[in-house]
Amino acid sequence: MDFNLNLILGQMVLGLVNGAFYAILSLGLSIIFGLLGVINFAHGVFFMLGAFAAYMLSEVFGIGYWPALILVPLMIGALGVVVEVTLIRSLYKLDHLYGLLLTLGLAFAIEGLIRIVFGPQGLPYSIPDSLRGAINLGFMFLPYYRAWVVIAGIILCLSVWLVIERTPLGAKLRAATDNPQMVQAFGINVPVMLTLTYAAGVALAGIGGVMAAPIMSVDPAMGTNIVIVVFAVVVIGGMGSIFGSILTGLALGLLEGFTKAVFAEASSTVIFVVMVIVLIARPRGLFGKMA
């Protein structure tokens, strides 16, 4: 174990790339959980579908990365609408655990389907031409594309946060998270709001998938692999906390990178260790409001 500063910095920058994905995914999970009370186990699958959608757009229609970044979230959002209306909606009156079981089953079914159709292998998706190349940071070569993921990811998360905290639309969302019945009694169509919120949450995962496609290979298991870490991020940040999930996602990405540099063997465990410590010291999570 040698403490090479360049390596530490480099790994932390790469950690931030992962952190951006953690943030995007846990943000969507938090929004959905806050309003619907559903832990969306299918979240990883929507992330994966985002990557596959980008792949298909490029293979079948020759549509590139930039349009995909707009089109894919719309497609995934539309799928989210269908899923919420046909499946999830019927469970709101039941124990929240059923929502978890349903979305878990959904995740299996969708991932299985993708494996049946596309096979288990990872499919290639190339970096957009405009982001090829790398910048020499002195301590590392940072590919432009990864830098873009970090910056775009952070901007995306902060914009979502601003919309929720600072706009009338966000006020409705927050109000409905506090007290959905009352919001509905004011003439706001809450069922539609739930549907759209679910759609927006999974659309975020879809954007994440497009952004991940050139980095990770487009692979049926890519969602499952990342989502369990994201669940830990959500538990650490505090379930349902919007800002907490963004900050925790990025911070844990950094921490993971740091661990890779100084004690690589622990890098996949470190987030879970942090989770246990947080649970013991502060059971509701770092930013969680409810106990």
Binding site: D178, N179, V183, F186
Partner: protein, 230 residues
Amino acid sequence: MLDIADLDAWYGESHVLHGLNMQVPDGKVVSLLGRNGAGKTTTMRTIMGLMGKVRGRLSYEGTDLLKLRPDQVARKGIALCPEDRAIFPSLSVHENLMLPPIIAQGGMSVEHIYELFPNIKERSSSRGTQLSGGEQQMLAIARILRTGAKFLLLDEPTEGLAPVIVQQISRTLAEIKEMGYTILLVEQNAHFVQGIADIHYLIENGHIVDRLEAGEFEKNIAKVDKLLGL
């Protein structure tokens, strides 16, 4: 006019309203008096479409409300100010005020509301739940005045408030009544409703036990007090 006939409603397994009958004519203030657990709040919730299992007739301006979702009921011009005031803790006072969408022409302007409730203006950037109980009550009433709803359901607006605040609310209601709103006022405070309501309904065990015109209220006050357990 709101017309309720033979209304039954349930909370899960427990049967709360038993054949409730009452009418609220347009432009009138109607009080619904009864003890805790008599079914007052349930009546309000049923009108709003917030109860799961309901049977009977419930029509407003000729529309069957029982077929509607709460948001559709609200779109008919009915607005609820619930017992717990339901100020949203995650929203600022201003956001709380602006949350209910405008559903019809003729609602109060924000300026007018601020005139009526100066405290709300002062504290508009605070969190909703940082307000005092009285201020929260004002806010809860103010935000439904903005929407253009013509039929207000006020659930125990005076509960737990200091007499001076109660007086202020009383004045406000009088003003609102002047403007031609229809109000269904649920109360346990007979004194409070006496000066405001045109018609009084007494409710016990989920059904109406008496209906009093404003003029008859005074001489039946003993009966009312007994009903309210005073």
